[in-house]
C-alpha cells in the first residue's frame, strides 16, 4: 500500500468515526449510577443565603439549606411545612386576622450538617442578620418591605435619624435600628413570630423554599465564621463586599446535601446528608459542572457523563432526537420580556432621537406620550415570528405585566396582534396627522450580542418602515453598560428588557413593570395622573389578604396596561429541560432555581 493511499484510508476512517460520533452510538447503561451530574454555565455569586440573588447561587443553596416552608411540588399557590411544622393561616390561629402577625412553630429533631440542633433562635438570627446585612443590590428588600416598611435598612436608619445620608446616622440611632429589627422577628418558646409593618400577602411566598434569602442558617456556626455576633453593634457587618462576607464560600444547612467543594470555574460537589431529618436523598453525590461551551455540554449529555444539561433554545433541535435523552419542552418559568416606551425622553445629547423634532429627521422627546403612536407600534409587532425565531417556541405571547403562571393573571385580557392596517390607522391619527405627513426617524438600541433584542428591533423596523416610506428606524448595537446607562437616564426611546421573578406573586411583576419607582417603569417617565392611578392599584393589590380585592386590583392593572398600551408586552418565557432518560423524579416548578436534586434518582427502564 502506498503512503498516499494509506493517508486516504485514514481520512475515510476518521470521517466514519465522525459520523458515528455524531450519530451518538453510546452505551445506554446508566453511567455513574450514584452521582447526578448537571452541566450548566454561570458561576454562583456566593453561598451566603442572604447575599445570593442569582439562580446559579440559588440552585446550590436550595440543596444545602432549607426554608420554613416549601411549595407543594410545582403548585405555587399551595404551601407545605418544611422547617416549620405548620403553615400559618387565620384558621389555625398562626396568622392574625389583620395579616400582621405570622407564627411559625419550629420543627424539633433537625440538625445542621455540623451536628448542631436547629432552634428557633437560629431562625430569628437568620432573618435579623439578613436585614442588617442588606447588601447593596441584594435580595433583602423582600424581607425589609413587609417587616419594616422600607426597601433598605439604610432608608430606615436615615428616616429615624432624619438625615439624608447613612454616614450621618448617629450611633444611638443605629441601636434603634437594631431594636426595630429585633422586634420584627422574635422567639416565643418553640415558635418564631414575625410582626409585619403592614399586611403583605406575598410574605409566605418570600419565606418559601426557592428563595435563598429566607434559608435558615446556624447561628452558632455563623458567628464562629466571623459573622454578625447578634449584638446591637451591627454596622461592621452591614453591606459587606463579597470577599468580606464570612459565608460567601462556606455552607452549613439542614438540607439533603452537604457542600463538599466549590471549585470555582469548574464545579460544585455536593454529598448526601445521611443524617437528614427526612429520608436521605436517593443519590449519593451531586455535581454541578460549569461548562460554558455548548458543544462540550452536548457531548457530555450524549456520552452520559452529564445527566442534565442546560440547553439554550437555538440548540434544542440538536438534542430532540438524541437516543437516551428526554427533552421536556415549554416548562413553566416566571420570566417576562417587554419593549418599554419612554414617554418623556431625556433629550440632552441624545443620539437616539435624531433632530429631536417631528420634522422627518427625528422624534420629539414626548413622542410616545401619544397613545396612537404606542398602539401603532403594538400593532406593528409580529409575535409569531419573534417566538419562532428567538425562542424556538419556548415562549408565549405576554398578555400584560403578569405572567400566565400566576393566579391573578387574566386569561381573557385582550392583546395586540400584528395588524399593519390598524397600525397605519393609528399612525395617521398620531400627533394630529403630523407623524404621517412628516414621517419620523429614531434609533432602537440593543446591547451587542443579544440576538433576541436585535430581532425584536428588526421586526419593528421592517414592519413600521413598510407602512410609510417616511418612517425610519435605525438599529444600533451598544455595549451593555451603555445600554444600561442610557435606559436609566431615559435616553432610549424604546428599550427591551426582561424580568425573572423573585417570588411567585403578581406584586413582583407589577412593581418593576408599572410602579413609578419600578426598575423599568421609573425610566419610562409616565405622566403623574397615570402613575397615581397605577401606584394606587399596586398598593391595593399588596395591602389586602382578600383574594377578591387582589384579583380586582391586578385585573385592573392588566387592563390599564393594555388600554394605555404602556409597553409592547413581548413574551412570557418557558424553559426546556433536557436530561438523560435514566433520570427519574423530575417535576416542574416555575420558581425553583435549577433542580430539586433531592427528588432525583437514576435508574434504567
Amino acid at each position: 500500500m502506498t503512503h498516499s493511499r494509506r493517508f486516504v484510508y485514514l481520512a475515510v476512517a476518521a470521517a466514519a468515526l465522525l459520523v458515528l460520533g455524531a450519530a451518538g452510538l453510546v452505551s445506554a447503561e446508566v453511567r455513574n449510577p450514584d452521582t447526578l451530574i448537571k452541566a450548566a454555565y454561570g458561576e454562583p455569586e456566593t453561598l451566603d443565603p442572604a447575599y445570593a440573588y442569582d439562580t446559579a447561587s440559588g440552585e446550590v443553596i436550595y440543596q444545602v439549606y432549607e426554608n420554613l416552608l416549601d411549595f407543594d411540588g410545582g403548585d405555587l399557590g399551595k404551601f407545605v411545612p418544611l422547617l416549620a411544622t405548620q403553615v400559618p393561616t387565620v384558621e389555625n390561629g398562626l396568622l392574625s386576622k389583620d395579616g400582621l402577625v405570622y407564627r411559625f412553630p419550629i420543627r424539633k429533631g433537625v440538625r445542621f450538617h455540623n451536628g448542631n440542633a436547629l432552634t428557633p433562635e437560629d431562625v430569628e438570627y437568620t432573618f435579623e442578620r439578613a436585614m442588617l446585612q442588606d447588601r447593596s443590590g441584594g435580595p433583602v428588600w423582600m424581607l425589609l418591605e413587609p417587616l419594616l416598611g422600607y426597601s433598605t435598612i439604610e432608608d430606615l436608619a436615615k428616616d429615624l435619624a432624619k438625615v439624608d445620608s447613612f454616614d450621618k446616622v448617629p450611633p444611638e440611632m443605629l441601636k434603634d435600628v437594631y431594636r426595630k429589627v429585633d422586634a420584627a422577628v422574635e422567639v416565643e418558646g418553640d415558635t418564631v413570630v414575625f410582626r409585619l409593618a403592614r399586611p403583605y400577602p406575598p410574605f409566605l411566598s418570600i419565606l418559601t423554599h426557592s428563595g435563598s434569602w429566607s434559608a435558615i442558617i446556624d447561628k452558632e456556626w455563623a458567628i464562629a465564621q466571623g459573622d454578625w455576633d447578634g449584638s446591637e453593634n451591627w454596622v461592621k457587618w452591614h453591606d459587606p463586599k463579597a470577599e468580606q462576607d464570612p459565608l460567601y464560600d462556606k455552607a452549613n444547612g439542614t438540607g439533603p446535601y452537604k457542600l463538599v467543594k466549590w471549585e470555582k470555574g469548574v464545579q460544585i460537589i455536593l454529598e448526601r446528608n445521611d443524617n437528614y431529618w427526612r429520608k436521605p436523598a436517593p443519590t449519593k453525590t451531586v455535581v454541578i459542572k460549569i461548562v460554558e461551551e455548548w458543544a462540550t455540554r452536548q457531548l457530555m449529555l450524549q456520552s452520559g457523563d452529564a445527566d442534565i444539561v442546560i440547553v439554550d433554545p437555538p440548540y434544542l433541535d440538536q438534542v430532540t432526537n438524541m437516543p437516551g435523552v428526554r427533552v421536556l419542552r415549554r416548562q413553566p418559568w416566571l420570566a417576562s420580556t417587554a419593549a418599554f416606551f419612554t414617554w418623556n425622553i431625556n433629550p440632552d445629547g441624545n443620539e437616539f432621537i435624531g433632530s429631536g423634532k417631528l420634522d422627518g429627521e427625528g422624534i420629539p422627546a414626548n413622542f410616545f406620550s401619544d397613545i396612537d403612536v404606542r398602539k401603532a407600534f403594538n400593532y406593528s409587532f409580529d409575535w409569531e415570528t419573534y417566538i419562532q425565531d428567538v425562542s424556538k417556541g419556548e415562549a408565549t405571547q405576554a398578555r400584560g405585566p403578569i405572567p400566565a403562571a400566576l393566579p391573578f393573571f387574566n386569561p381573557e385580557q385582550p392583546v395586540y396582534k400584528l395588524d399593519l392596517r390598524k397600525a397605519e390607522e393609528h399612525f395617521r391619527k398620531a400627533w394630529g396627522g403630523e407623524v404621517w405627513r412628516n414621517g419620523f426617524k429614531m434609533t432602537i438600541a440593543y446591547n451587542a450580542g443579544n440576538d433576541a433584542r436585535r430581532i425584536a428591533a428588526e421586526i419593528l423596523e421592517q414592519n413600521i418602515e413598510s407602512i410609510n416610506p417616511k418612517f425610519r428606524i435605525d438599529i444600533q448595537a451598544v455595549q451593555w453598560p451603555t445600554y444600561l446607562q442610557a435606559y436609566r437616564q431615559s435616553k432610549l426611546p424604546l428599550f427591551i428588557l426582561g424580568w425573572l421573578a423573585d417570588f411567585p406573586d403578581e406584586h413582583n411583576f407589577v412593581v418593576p413593570f408599572m410602579h413609578s419607582t419600578g426598575t423599568f417603569a421609573a425610566a419610562q417617565k409616565l405622566p403623574p395622573e397615570l402613575t397615581q392611578q397605577i401606584d394606587a392599584l399596586i398598593e391595593q393589590g399588596v395591602s389586602s389578604t382578600d383574594p377578591k380585592v387582589r384579583r380586582e386590583a391586578y385585573y385592573k392593572l392588566q387592563q390599564v396596561a393594555y388600554e394605555q398600551a404602556i409597553d409592547i408586552f413581548l413574551v412570557d418565557r418557558t424553559q426546556p429541560v433536557v436530561m438523560r432518560d435514566w433520570v427519574k423524579g423530575w417535576y416542574p416548578n416555575a420558581i425553583r432555581p435549577g433542580e430539586d436534586f433531592y427528588r432525583l434518582s437514576k435508574s434504567s427502564g
Binding site: 456566593t46 469548574v266 457523563d305
Partner: protein
Amino acid sequence: MTRLIVRRLLLLPLVVAGASLIIFGLSQLMPPYQRVATFIRSPQELKSFSMDQLVKKYQLDAPLHVQYSNWMRELLSGHMGWSEVAKQPVWDAIMERFPATIELTLYAAVPMAVGGVWLGTQAAVHHNSWIDHLSRVFAIIGWSFPTFVFGLIFLMIFYGALGWFPPGRVSVWATQAMLSPEFKQVTRLVTIDALINGRFDIFLDTIRHMVGPVVTLSYLYWAQLQRITRSSMLETLRQDYVRTARAKGLDERTVIRKHARRNALIPVSTIIALMVLGLLGGVVITETIFSYPGIGKLLATAALQLDRTTVLGITIFYSVVLVVVILAMDISYALIDPRVRLD
C-alpha cells in the same frame, strides 16, 4: 551571564509598572457612567442609587492618579481586588487556575517542540521527497484548521463516539479522591500530586483528560514549527561549514545532528519560547472547548464581562511571567550559540 540575569531582573518591575499603566489607561477610556455598570450587580441596585451616587460610591470620579495609586497600593500590599467573574479574590483566582495552565503547558510543550523540530528536520533533509510533500500537506492542514474546529472534531470522535478522552481536568471520582484528607496536594499539578500520593489511577485519568487539549495544541503548533524548522534547516544545510563537514567524511547523521540542526534551532528556539509563552498565557479556545480550567478562560470571561479588576490583575501577573520566560529565552540563546556575546 550573571550580569544579563541581574539586568533582566532589574528590568522586571519597570516592565510590570509600564504594563500596568497601559492597561489601566486603556480601561480609563470608558467614562465613569460606563464603568459604573461593571460594578452593578443587579437592577435592584439601580433602584436604590442614582448613577451619580454609584460613581461616588465606587470612587470612579476620583482623579486618575488617585485611582491608579489606590490600585497600585492595594496591589503592592498583596490585594489584587475582587474578581466578579471568578467570585473570589483575583490572586486566588489566578493561583487556582495557573497550575492547570502550567500542567497543560508542560504536557503540550514537549510533544510540540520535539515533534515539530523532528518533522521539520525530516522535511529539510529529505527536501522535495514524498516526506517533504506529505509534511507540507500536514502543515497546511494544521495551519488552516481553526482550533475550535479541530478541537470539536477531536471531541466528537474520541469522546462522543469512542468515549476515550473526556473534557475537563479529572473525573468526578478522582476529584472526590483528591478531596479526601489522605490525598496530599503538594504541587497542585494533578499528575505529579497523583504520583506523589501513589495514585496511578488518578494520574492516568488526568492524562486521559489532557490528551484532547494537548493533541489539539500540539498539532497546530507542529504545523508552524515544522515549517520554520524546515526553512531554517534548508538554509543551514547550504552553509559552507556543512559542506566542509561532509567533505571531511563525517556521516550524514552527525552532520545533521551536530553541525546543522544546532544552528538551525536558534530561530526555532525563539518560536518555541513564544509558543510556550502563549501556552502559559492560557489558550482560550482550547480551554473553553475542552472545559479546561486554566487562566486563559478566566481572562477571556473577564474581558467579555468587563471585569476590569481581573483583567488588570492577570495582565500584571502575565507581565511577570513574560519577563521571566524572556529571560530564560535569552539564557537559552547563550547555551545554544556560544557566539552570542551577552556580556
